[in-house]
Amino acid sequence: MRFRTTLSVVAPVVLALGLAGCGGWDDSSSGSGGTAAKATNCTNKIVHEDAKKVLVWAWYPNMAKVVDNFNNQHTDVQACWTNAGQGQPEYAKFQTAISAKKGAPDVIMLEADQLVGFEIQDALVDLAPYGANEVKKNFSDGAWKDVSQGDKVFAAPVDGGPMALIYRADIFEKYGIKTPPKTWDEYAADAKKVKDAGGPVFGDFGSNVPAVTTALMIQKGAQPFVYNLADKKNLTVKLDDQATKDVLDYWGTLSKQGLVGKEDQFTTDYIAGMVGGKYATYVSAAWAPGYLTGAGVGNGKDKGKFAVAPLPQWDASKPVSVNWGGSAFAVTSQTADKAAAAKVALGLYADDASLKDGWQTQTIFPLNQSVLKSDDFLNAKIEFFDGQTVNKDIYVPAENAYKGAVYSPFTVYYYAQLQAQIAKINQGGTTGSQAATDLQAQIVNYAKQQGFSVQ
């Protein structure tokens, strides 16, 4: 009986070590090699059965149409699509597949700020040899820079989020704000004016949107990260420069004085606040109107009351355009047929029909210049904004002026630390400047732990 007990203990141990030994786990920084998941179980229908099937993970709400459009237009490759999660959950799945060297899709939808983290693990394929440069002309400089590393191109841009200021025209009118603030100083002054007259808070300094805060830091001239994939081990981190401190102090002061809200965004409470006019402005991106409409804002008693103005600047004579969000299609290194996958990545959501559906249903703000230059798009009167031609006036110029940003190889970690600092500021536990200093220390420490040589 002793033997049986021993066996029941030893056998699984041997099994596990055997599998380990078989190299089932290779956590080296090289994520290349490995097998992608099979392109079966597609949510969509395959039109040409004998074409090469490419597995795509994406979460666009209108993806079914997009994939159908692509499959109808191509006979040599077919996209097999499934929604593997939106944002972070999809990245977690992707990371698991990378670590296990199995199960990644051929083409994956990624937000621009996540690309570097996967590039450094050799999990993405450079698309330049597969025709990426042919589509370069379709995108603004900023949009292209976000997906490139020097000459290498790791994803095909689809949509973006140039930032602007959405505001409640009725509240502005009620409290005597004749024109939307053009500078941040004006913004603060307007906020005080509204509060003193007993009005609602002017905006919201939410901790769960660290991408916004980072964009605003960049707007003032901060350069949080400098990183070049060609020089893998070197990283420059600058989170405690004066620009960053100024921006965090600015918002920290507004929060402390009760001039802006402290609530997290994208919650049901926040939506209710938007509907009820709790926030006079919403510093947001071009996809915000679509999000708000879908969430039920602008449909009831708040119908027709929203308008949008360019994002306030620190220096009105030197305007800087910034971006929040946006996604692209990348090809994973686990794919068996890079050329086919690249074809899908570069072609999906790039045809007129899909793009038109995308912006007309307010699903995305497309980055493709064919849309941004088209009359339809520019002259569209957006119902959410009571007929304002927001694309022509605000969002397209903002996108064209966008210069791109540099992201760290550990965006998720960085965002989490920034989020904690903002929450602390809102709770009164720290000041903006102190938060910047602490953040710098945390990130540098982490980077060193990960083996980077930090400047």
Partner: protein, 313 residues
């Protein structure tokens, strides 16, 4: 609790050789009965566990590759302020939530065992229902119920002209979670105790009643001790589960305005490390470190209740 027939009772069977053969056959049968379980256990618990343990001995940097780290990950884990902070929270949370859940469950089960009729049947379902509600709904549901904008707490408070507390704020999140967990899990434990109560032969109650015991006395002096094993089981697993606290705080994070941090509990911290920061090796070490703490806690519990030898019998 059935009286365990001592092994020697086997000898009361007439022929000695048959008895011995019978005992051996019986023992082998025992292995056969647990075999299916052992197979799944080995495949889905032991093998991954050993694998994870093996991985926890290595370390991976984003810029460097994977290198052997020995116990470095563990020394780092036990000294990690995030780990310690999370540990402190689950410890002081366990101390309150476990007795609370068990008491509620026990009271409910005893009541349901005593009372029959429609109220009892309805209550049984109602108390069980929270466990059946999928956790994914939790964030939305508690988001509305705890909402300072349109929650019932807020409405009641405004009726009395008082500012309603936000139960997931920095200071209140302990209580907010206490409520969520008690609500979610008491029914689960109640069902278990209830089933154990239903297994008791009711003739014992007759005897007690003849002796003049009241219903309450029967409940406390007869029923509770007879479900002692089930209670001990629930206590241990509740302890393990609470120290490994993950689901409820993780689900409520989006609506807690930042008071539930990525290192709120050790298990959440391990999850973040593994899935969001791509640091699976260190995450494994954190998990095993937590497992060690759980082991110590359970060991202490067993010593304190003197169940060292035969747990659950």
């Amino acid at each position: 609790m059935a009286v365990e027939t001592p092994v020697s009772a086997g000898t009361s069977v007439p022929a000695a050789p048959v008895a011995r053969g019978g005992r051996v056959r019986r023992r082998n049968a025992g292995w056969l009965f647990i075999l299916p379980f052992l197979l799944v256990f080995a495949a889905f618990l032991v093998a991954p566990l050993v694998y994870a343990g093996y991985l926890s001995l290595w370390t991976k940097g984003l810029a460097t590759g994977t290198t052997f780290a020995g116990i470095d990950n563990y020394t780092r884990a036990f000294g990690d302020p995030s780990f310690r902070k999370g540990l402190w929270f689950v410890l002081r949370f366990s101390v309150v939530v476990i007795p609370l859940q068990i008491v509620v469950a026990l009271v409910a089960a005893l009541l349901l065992d005593e009372i029959t009729g429609r109220l009892a049947r309805f209550s049984r379902l109602m108390i069980f229902l929270p466990y059946a509600i999928p956790a994914v709904l939790g964030a939305l549901m508690w988001g509305f119920l705890y909402s300072p904008t349109f929650g019932p707490i807020e409405q009641i408070a405004s009726f009395f002209d008082v500012r309603a507390p936000f139960l997931l704020s920095q200071g209140n999140v302990y209580y907010g979670l206490l409520n969520v967990v008690t609500w979610q899990w008491s029914g689960y434990y109640m069902i278990i105790i209830y089933a154990a109560l239903k297994g008791i032969d009711s003739s014992i109650y007759e005897a007690a009643r003849i002796d003049g015991a009241t219903a309450r006395q029967i409940a406390l002096r007869v029923k509770v001790p007879m479900v002692g094993s089930a209670l001990a089981l629930i206590l241990v697993f509740s302890l393990i589960g609470t120290l490994q606290f993950f689901s409820e705080p993780q689900i409520l994070r989006p609506i807690a305005n930042g008071s539930i941090t990525p290192d709120f509990t050790p298990n959440i911290y391990a999850y973040e490390l593994a899935f969001n920061y791509a640091q699976f090796n260190y995450a494994s070490a954190i998990s095993f470190a937590l497992g060690f703490v759980v082991f110590v806690a359970v060991a202490i519990f067993m010593v304190v209740t003197r169940k060292r030898g035969s747990l659950f019998t």
